[in-house]
Symmetry: C2
Subunit: 225 residues, 2 copies
DNA sequence: ATTATCTATAGATCTATAGATAATGC
DNA sequence: ATTATCTATAGATCTATAGATAATGC
């Protein structure tokens, strides 16, 4: 009898206890997370069912709640992970040293490759920001400081180049919007595009590679005086 | 007793009967449709609840099923309506007569204006094609014939221009992808953009107008030899 | 002793229908 | 007589938890 009461108290506080993350623990937890990411990416928050996520993980459904308590909790972890990934991807190209042109090329190229490797990520984030204002706040808090910094760096370089007369009088924000429009849209609108052309996998790969070169070319042209 | 049986039979076959569409009828039906469109656009199929659609319409919840039988039915009507709208929007610019450059400008401009007036439409269609293969089929059936025609027209004009040397050797499909990437992305990614800049309504309008001009400029530049 | 896992199910939510009643048109 | 509408609720689906048992680590 006492056993049962102690057990029930334990059950109540257990989720709040810091876990040890033994090897086995980490594995199941991570498997559920990956399954959750997959299902959330494909169906969005409302369309994703915890039963499906669990079935996908190959563990009992109760495990999902044991590790993450609620669907909302699980979602938040997936969402934040990916907001950070996306935000940081903008950075990777900027760290290169070199001429303005070289930096722009590496920025576009790295960013394009990141999205190519995570083709469902952008649409997922856009949808979830639209759905829930709290996600919007997370996006702002995580991405704003980094994007502001990146934006400032690009603006500074653009203004410097303007003075030398190497590039035209372009608005930095519009310049950035051009880059992300060209880089992201093919992945966001993948079904629209793949339905017009019926690409095989290889053809699609080739199309993306051409697309990347085309984007670099277009953006550099946009800079010309 | 007999009355009840007759009534029950009537209830069964009623939904399949062609309706007369009296004035009153049309009104309620259309109100529900509009409410459904609004909610489906905002929350997608899974996130939209028939109770919310009904509440939004100001009629009893049962009315929704009375007119449309199922959520799926109601959705299909909204979806097909909007696939047709989007597909036809591509056309409106092409009908103009004039030089190649003029046609391209009117195409981009009309298309951009259409999406500006229906900012949530594209994201809705992309998501629903992703979600359900049947929607994908509808998209293909409705849009393919029209888009193929438009694509062929553009290709023909491009090839003609190539011979005169007025434009560079550009791949027509990539050219079209460039146009729709630039035109659609700002609307699809509206929350991402509006979170970086905190535009007022007026500022946002001005941004969109600049964006349209920028897109025209970029596309014309992309054509230059 | 502690942690991980399973089965069964409570409780909430959502779609759809039953059945009754009100409104409309001939 | 026909059509439109309402209230109440059945039935399905989904999230979350209870309670028991198995696996793990000290």
């Amino acid at each position: 009898m006492l056993n049962i009461i102690v057990y029930q108290i334990y059950r109540k506080i257990q989720p709040f206890l810091q876990k040890d993350m033994t090897k086995k623990d980490k594995k199941t937890e991570e498997i559920i997370l990956q399954s959750a990411e997959k299902v959330f990416f494909e169906k969005g928050y409302a369309g994703a069912k915890t039963t499906e996520i669990a079935k996908n993980s190959g563990v009992g459904h109760a495990m999902l709640h044991y590790y993450f308590r609620t669907k909302e909790n699980l979602f938040q972890i997936v969402f934040e992970r990916n907001v950070e990934l996306l935000t940081n991807s903008v950075f990777s190209g900027l760290e290169k040293q070199g001429s303005f042109k070289e930096i722009i090329i590496s920025l576009i190229s790295n960013h394009f490759d990141f999205v190519r490797n995570n083709p469902k990520l952008v649409l997922f984030i856009i949808n979830e920001i639209n759905r829930n204002n709290n996600n919007n706040t997370i996006w702002k808090e995580v991405s704003a400081p980094i994007l502001t910094k990146v934006s400032a760096q690009i603006t500074e370089r653009i203004n410097k180049e303007k003075k030398t007369g190497n590039i035209r009088d372009i608005d930095p924000f519009n310049f950035i919007v051009t880059i992300i429009s060209l880089n992201l849209f093919v992945f966001v609108a993948h079904p629209l595009i793949n339905n017009i052309k019926h690409f095989t996998k290889k053809e699609y790969e080739a199309f993306l590679e051409r697309r990347k070169q085309e984007n670099i070319r277009l953006v550099l042209m946009a800079l010309q005086p």
